[in-house]
């Protein structure tokens, strides 16, 4: 059975040979035009007029389009408040004001410079604090999450710490920037080939922009060159631009963003400023925790409300909070409209409490691990702040096992001694955890569909609503389908995602792409299998003699439940009770000849979930993916330079469908998280121009930055997990572990702070470290 094995990624051959086709790898047709976007030169103001005369005079420019060319003016996944293209009010620097088409791809950059705009400038707001002062709330949570009575606890608390945790945003830096080609088809239809995590949303936004019904728009997604949440909502307007041009000119239109343009135009991870207050006893047990999460939504709401909600849902981290108050507010600013990014708000919530625990340890002069161990969810059936019972809780096992395997105790002693020596270097170590809730918190998104078509030669084509962005969802679906039919993985092909096959697709997001679509595929397989079993039974029961007499007999099946007497294995379908067998291929052919369907569409919805944010009731998550990490860092006290020396990760992923794919998700997510809290600094000038808009200035981790020693292990979880094949989702949960590099720096700096908690912001670049060290030295 291929489930549980390290089957190679289904696109890996194409990837290593360069044969995999991404959007811009599609060969341009003769008549194709290339689309450019012209962005706003101010962050806030009113667009009065566009002077495109110089552009239109350019020999290859064949059209300029602005808001009046779009049938819909606003889009937005949750609230429709974002202009598809600026109509009047400008919300952020670089916001698209108009688009143009050129017959020559090499002229795009030049034509962009030929536009003039008349704009009434207004004064922008860039920081959360300025937006708070103006009370520019874009969304606030309808209800706080409350358990017990924090205010009462604060009154009688032994120890109290309070402060503000501040973290910056993060660019997705997917290697393939936003890309789309729109093809005009017969009968006014449009087919868009988009690099999107959300084909149905893209289809909808395109249809609205063009004034078409949904049945006239098809969105096709072969694959993405990385997405990480950045193509969940934001691919849609890009596709709309290409589609509008395609429709106007009746020619294929290609829009490929440059990296600089992509980084300037598109939204990023939300910066947060979280006010907290914590009460704890002398052992470090947290008795009360109050947190007000404040995010920078940017110019429009996008997914900010859901992201804020998930942030609130993860403000407890891995820790049980008996008395707790969690509230969240998203603020409007004149920054790019911030959006989904791996973790979806959870990292910013989780990081606050990990930071607070680091401070408590420093305050009590205790080992932070002991305090964490004391405060984690210790068992099942205790309530989270949002009233969900913790089930199948592996945190104590994870903590104890990793504490031992990482040799944390001895290393801490070694670090204590090392830091006493004063040799120009300090070390820090930190043990942090992730307890990531799996499911979309919007209940309606927890649905998926699959089409499974068995071909006459016994090979299988599968189409689902999942989109492949490298995470291996197609490979995992390939594995479960091949296991279901007992055929080799090579006999299963996952087909291009398209809204004409799978409609109303949920975005491939929330780590749940495989859970939902894989489950739908299995359901479809089972329906086909049940018919094949019925047929096999009939075939086995009818002797050869009978068949000879009446060759015209047609078998009929009644879609019964799957007959568990049959096993699909090694290309054979075997009846266990009679030991009779028939090859899968032969059975499939017989089914066809007997006019029995060997294809199936199936629909799946995640059972039992549904969280009401107004009442804070109902089950928010299907289950939790948990894990922990120990990270050690080394800091040069002269320069503030920091190296991550070692990270040991232990994850509970249930029973992984493909352990190597999951391991790749863990290492990838961890390094991305580490980058967010260390070197990835978004730098803007005072006008709101993003200056760090390319890899020269925006530093994601490179190969030399990963921990010098890097171990990833999976916990053996024998519990029954209510998910496909007992597996657990992996995409986002380990991202949260990356922040251990930040808490480890905090720990290292605490050796120079005279026992006072160290207040630092994120990302903790060398500059932040050196400034802090200098401040501490000067007694600040």
């Amino acid at each position: 059975m291929s489930v549980g094995s390290n089957i190679k990624h289904d696109s890996s051959y194409g990837h290593v040979t360069g044969e995999s086709i991404f959007v811009d790898d599609r060969e341009a047709t003769n008549s194709e035009v290339f689309v450019g976007i012209v962005g706003s030169p101010v962050a806030c103001g009113k667009l009065i007029s566009i002077d495109a005369s110089a552009a239109l005079k350019h020999k290859s420019c064949v059209g300029v389009y602005s808001a009046s060319d779009f049938c819909s003016k606003k889009w937005g996944t949750i609230f429709k408040d974002q202009p598809i293209i600026v109509e009047d009010n400008i919300g952020y620097m670089g916001e698209p004001l108009c688009i143009f088409a050129s017959t020559n791809r090499y002229d795009i950059e030049h034509i962009k410079t030929l536009f003039k705009f008349k704009i009434d400038k207004a004064s922008p707001v860039f920081s959360i604090s300025d937006s708070v002062a103006k009370n520019n709330i874009i969304y606030s949570s309808p209800s706080a999450f409350v358990q017990g009575d924090v205010e009462k606890v604060f009154k009688s608390a032994t120890n109290i710490l309070e402060g503000t945790f501040i973290c910056g945003g993060q660019d997705h830096f997917y290697m393939e920037s936003q890309a789309c080609i729109a093809y005009p088809m017969e009968n006014g239809q449009i087919e868009v080939h988009s690099s999107t995590q959300n084909p149905s949303e893209t289809q909808r936004v395109v249809a609205e922009a063009l004034g078409l019904s949904l049945h006239h728009v098809v969105c096709v997604v072969k694959r993405m060159g990385g997405a990480f949440g950045g193509k969940e909502s934001q691919a849609a307007p890009i596709a709309a631009y290409a589609a509008v041009v395609a429709k106007k000119l009746k020619k294929p239109a290609r829009l490929i963003l440059t990296k600089d343009e992509d980084m300037i135009i598109t939204g990023k991870r939300h910066p947060f400023e979280n006010d907290y207050k914590v009460a704890f006893d002398n052992e470090g047990k947290i008795n009360g925790f109050k947190i007000i999460l404040k995010s920078d939504a940017g110019a429009y709401s996008d997914l900010s409300s859901s992201i804020l909600e998930r942030s609130m849902l993860h403000a407890d981290g891995a820790y049980y909070l008996k008395n707790v108050y969690i509230q969240g507010l998203a603020y409007k600013t004149n920054n790019h409209s911030n959006t989904a990014y791996r973790g979806f708000g959870a990292p910013q919530g989780n990081m606050t409490i990990e930071s607070v625990i680091e401070d408590i340890a420093c305050f009590l002069k205790k080992d932070a691990f002991e305090i964490r161990r004391l405060n984690i969810y210790q068992k099942d059936n205790i309530k989270t702040p949002y009233n969900q019972n913790i089930e199948n809780n592996m945190l104590p096992d994870i903590f104890d096992q990793l504490h031992k395997s990482s040799d944390y105790k001895n290393r801490l002693v070694e670090i204590n001694n090392f830091n006493k020596q004063k040799n120009g270097k300090i070390k820090g170590i930190s043990f942090t955890a992730t307890k990531f809730g799996i499911a979309f918190t919007s209940r309606f998104l927890n649905q998926g569909s699959a089409i499974v078509n068995v071909q006459l030669d016994g090979s299988v084509q599968v189409s689902t609503g999942a989109t492949e962005m490298g995470q291996g969802v197609n490979t995992k679906i390939q594995q479960v389908v091949s296991s279901a039919f007992g055929i080799p993985v090579n006999n299963v092909q996952i087909m291009t995602t398209s809204t004409e096959k799978n409609h109303n697709t949920s975005p491939t997001a929330a780590s749940a792409g495989f859970d939902i679509n894989g489950s739908a595929a299995i359901k479809a397989c089972n329906k086909i299998k049940s018919r094949l079993c019925e047929l096999a039974k009939l075939i086995f029961e009818n002797t050869t003699e009978n068949n000879k007499k009446n060759t015209f007999t047609e078998f009929e099946v009644n879609n019964k439940d799957l007959d568990l007497d049959f096993i699909f294995k090694d290309n054979l379908v075997t009846q266990t009770s009679t030991k009779k067998e028939i090859s899968f291929k032969k059975l499939v052919f017989k089914a066809y000849n007997n006019r029995i369907s060997i294809g199936e569409y199936s629909f799946y919805k995640t059972p039992e979930i549904g969280f009401c944010k107004n009442t804070v009731k109902g089950k928010a998550f299907n289950y939790f993916t948990q894990g922990a990490v120990v990270t050690e860092v080394l800091i040069d006290e002269y320069t503030g330079e920091m190296k991550v020396m070692k990270s040991d990760i232990l994850m509970d992923l249930g029973r992984p469908i493909n352990p190597d794919i999951d391991k790749g998700q863990v290492t990838g997510a961890f390094i991305q998280g580490m980058g967010w809290v260390t070197t990835e600094r978004l730098f803007y000038d005072t006008d709101g121009n993003l200056i760090s808009h390319s890899p020269t200035t925006y530093k994601i981790p490179n190969i030399q930055d990963i921990p010098r020693v890097f171990n990833v292990d999976f916990l053996l979880n024998k519990n029954k997990i209510k998910n496909i094949y007992g597996s657990k989702a992996v995409g986002e949960p380990p991202f949260l572990l990356g922040l251990s590099a930040w808490t480890a720096v905090k720990h290292a700096l605490s050796y120079r702070s005279n026992g006072k908690p160290v207040n630092i912001t994120s990302p903790v670049t060398g500059e932040v470290i050196l400034n802090k060290l200098t401040d501490l030295k000067n007694g600040n």
């Binding site: 890996s12 040979t17 120009g424 962005m469 490298g470 794919i661 981790p701 490179n702």
Partner: protein
Amino acid sequence: MRKSIILYLNGKMIELGESDSFMSLSNYLRYQKNLTGTKVTCSEGDCGACTVLVSRFDGKKMGQIQAINSCISFMYLFDRCHLITVEGLKKLDHLHPAQKTMIKHHGAQCGYCTPGMICALAAMTEDAKNNVIKIDNKKVKNYLTGNLCRCTGYEPIIKAGLSIDINDVKKFSDIYDQKEMISKYSNLIFDDVKLSHKDQEVYLPASYESLYKNADIKNTKIVSGATDLGVFVNKNKIQLKKVISLNNILESYKIQNLDDKIVIGAKASLTDIEKACKKDFPEFSKSLHIFASPQIKNIGTLVGNLVNASPISDTAAFLRVSNSKVILNNSKTERSIFINDFFLKSYKKLDINSDEIVTHIIIPKEKIKFKLYKISTRKDLDISSVNMAIAYKLDNKIFTSFKLCVGGVGPTTLRLTSIEKEVIGKAIDQKIFKKIAKMAILQIKPLSDVRGEGSYRKILVHNLLLKFCDEVILDNKINVNEISI
């Protein structure tokens, strides 16, 4: 005068006409040849997605295959070269060993960086095969320093690199018949090449003599590796009109390692210089190690870096304290000046006449020691916030020579001569360095930008001087009570 560019692409000869010759290599591959395995992410040579392999004819044979960034290279730079793309690695369904191990170890997730990674790994295996070097963790990381991946966290890619069976690797010279290339190119070595397309013009002289004779240096941009110019062109910041490329001047690639000096030709790559300086200037060689990506260093030059005159150039600080000289030539005379005097006081201004070109850099082998520091947000593949070069001589614990140059703190790299004077003639002493560290901060006016606040750069300069002092104390086994910081 030849009016075309002749090169081999994946083993097949191609003669490029005048329009294609001005394209970037990645655009040519992707949009003219439909070889879309080569990807473009950043268009500035900082991510490695566009990595391809190149081998250059050196007058006798084809040079070793090296990885380069195709997005910032122009086609005219590859006259007399053999270019190999990811599509050229697989021969008749027989995968390159790096392709096999990347599949096996899940080194590819989204797949967008993968072809570039594969090419960089192929450059590594070629090096390992040719020079009988063992592939270890460090080697893999060093060869992939210029390749960003956002999906994997690199771990599976390193595993793939380490798992390559070197016995399974075939040399490129065994895969592609080089005899034909060599005989073809041998006939071209005296060709002057001149191409023009619309308002663009490029001249590739076969020798310096031709260059002086035929070229109007005054009104022309000299292009070497184009690692900076390529970026400017891509980002629409400049339009190159008239260009001279030194690429076909064979003697310009030379590095002469003599008894008393190293003489570096204008086209000598930073990779070759890093190797050549390893023994005599280990500190400089080490600084080149983290200077840029292998792709950039394989094509970028020291002369280019010098003439570019960036105030944060990592090499300039070293060249200014090492008594290095630059050789300038026009058609009539040759002059040599200390690189320290080559830099004039304002931003990007050099002591160079409009009809001169830089042909050589000379680093003298003197009995001085160096300490070079580079501080950047990311250790590798990043531009410095501050860099510092110190050349010193310590006789009996007394500084008989002390030269200090700092980058990133003003419009040019800065020699702090008044501070040098404070140190020369004095014994090494933490107190003196604490004093000069404070003095240094008063002498610099660093800007605040994306690479750091001015105040941060000041602290860095201050602390690096203390670090230098403590390191020298440690190197010389002098007893002190505590470190300076």
